[in-house]
Symmetry: C2
Amino acid sequence: MAAPTINDIRQAAERIRPYARRTPVLTCAGLDRQVAAHVFLKCENLQKVGAFKFRGACNAVFSLPESALSRGVVTHSSGNHAQALALAARMRGIPAYIVMPRTAPAVKKAAVAGYGGIITFCEPTLEARQSMQEQVIAETRATPIHPYNNYQVIAGQGAAALELLQEIPDLDVILAPVGGGGLLSGASVAATELSPGIRVIGAEPEGADDAFRSLAAGRILPSVNPRTIADGLLTSLGDLTFPIIRERVEQIVTVSEAAIVAAMKFIWERAKIIIEPSAAVPVGVLWERKIDLTGLRVGVILSGGNVDLDRLPWQSIKERVG
Amino acid sequence: MAAPTINDIRQAAERIRPYARRTPVLTCAGLDRQVAAHVFLKCENLQKVGAFKFRGACNAVFSLPESALSRGVVTHSSGNHAQALALAARMRGIPAYIVMPRTAPAVKKAAVAGYGGIITFCEPTLEARQSMQEQVIAETRATPIHPYNNYQVIAGQGAAALELLQEIPDLDVILAPVGGGGLLSGASVAATELSPGIRVIGAEPEGADDAFRSLAAGRILPSVNPRTIADGLLTSLGDLTFPIIRERVEQIVTVSEAAIVAAMKFIWERAKIIIEPSAAVPVGVLWERKIDLTGLRVGVILSGGNVDLDRLPWQSIKERVG
């Protein structure tokens, strides 16, 4: 498969329609006043497994050729992608092998197991995860599904922006968070092909600004020891996502930890929906006003809503980011 | 105006359409598994001012005759109705006089003022609130809008159930919380007239069970010193809501404080939306399974989402209800 086009995204949207949710687009008058823009929130926090990740995993799983089906899929992840892949595989009736560090929180292990994922534990290093995944592939011949550096995954994530623009066609700007770049690259393809002239802007924590630095340098500069409350955005761009983002994304704007927490709490309080810190990062762009979006119609992709309700960032921000 | 019919509710829905939100109906596979039913959540927590109260206040304000407009409206409330009435009045460009106890939380005073309400403070007793409201009426000749014992308010609240049944016509049951009974009475008219044979069930905290006791006794038995975390449900039935509920509601089911908190947290965690304790009470009916709704299609009206995010019940349940 070549880099996804709008047609690939349309096909992905069609393919996942029976399984994924068409999430609502919400508005919030209080937010509009606060940030002096017209904001349309695409609520992927209300997606299956609580994150846009389900779209990409679902598209990848349902794109598998018949011949590969019985061998299943494999990934190494302890985050939303692991749950998403486990659920998508269960929906297609095939095994999902999930490699997780044995130090992952119990709640994440339970979630993956709850969706029927077959967990293999490994030591908590990237090397151990990769070598354990190789071992699982050697044993099972399962197809690896990377969380973002995979064209089917990118096309699936793009379906969120496609739906947003079908519902609100006249957006000036789309804001999406960027970690590995799967969501941002998919959204940028959908948006720039559907709506020429639209501005696509990536939102990244200051403490994990590899995409910002990579675009400035013109080559991938991976994060070194990234640090942010937005734990879904710790990963670095991949060699499939970077070229798409470089071509189609206007700029990456970095956001402070304080703005991430303030924006997150404001969305909870005023829009009455649960978003995780990573989803608050694009709202933080509006909040901090490092760039001027006054009066514009801004679509924001809220990436997910998986948080620990016993440990909220505004109750312990000092310990967490200090 | 006589007791509202389905036509009054249809007219109310039409009247408030330009101002109120058509709230989404969400489903949650995890909730369905947990309670063994097919649950459809009508998200009035996503309504303007964060509560269904806006519908009734809006219908009442936009039903006012021209001759009464300039004198404005008045109510005594420190809760969601006060904010709802202030916003509806601002939308119609008329004054809203809100009588509030001077001991009300600062955040509630600020919210009412933020919607343009003209606040008069009084001592924190029901007598003081009523006599202060009489005084305001004597001075302004404003029209009093009771939070629930008012047919226009009841018809407006009924529009939430009307929308729910338009979207999901084949419900077996509708569950709604009951405090003063405005929402439950309006929902019961809409549901039983649109869908003969549907069961309408009221959900009430054990610690504020006046509706349960009143239905059993066949007459209004007001709450004495009610005690519950569901602070929107402390009020007692009125002489307009009681007869409607007696005629059209199958039964009232009471819910324990523990079930209210557990159901609230589950909805936050799994449905990714913020609901206030009062909105968790009908979910608590499903949670506790005091009545058997196994396998049924159950519409739940989530009444609101106004909570203090710095003080969550599962972080301090012992101090709050002990």
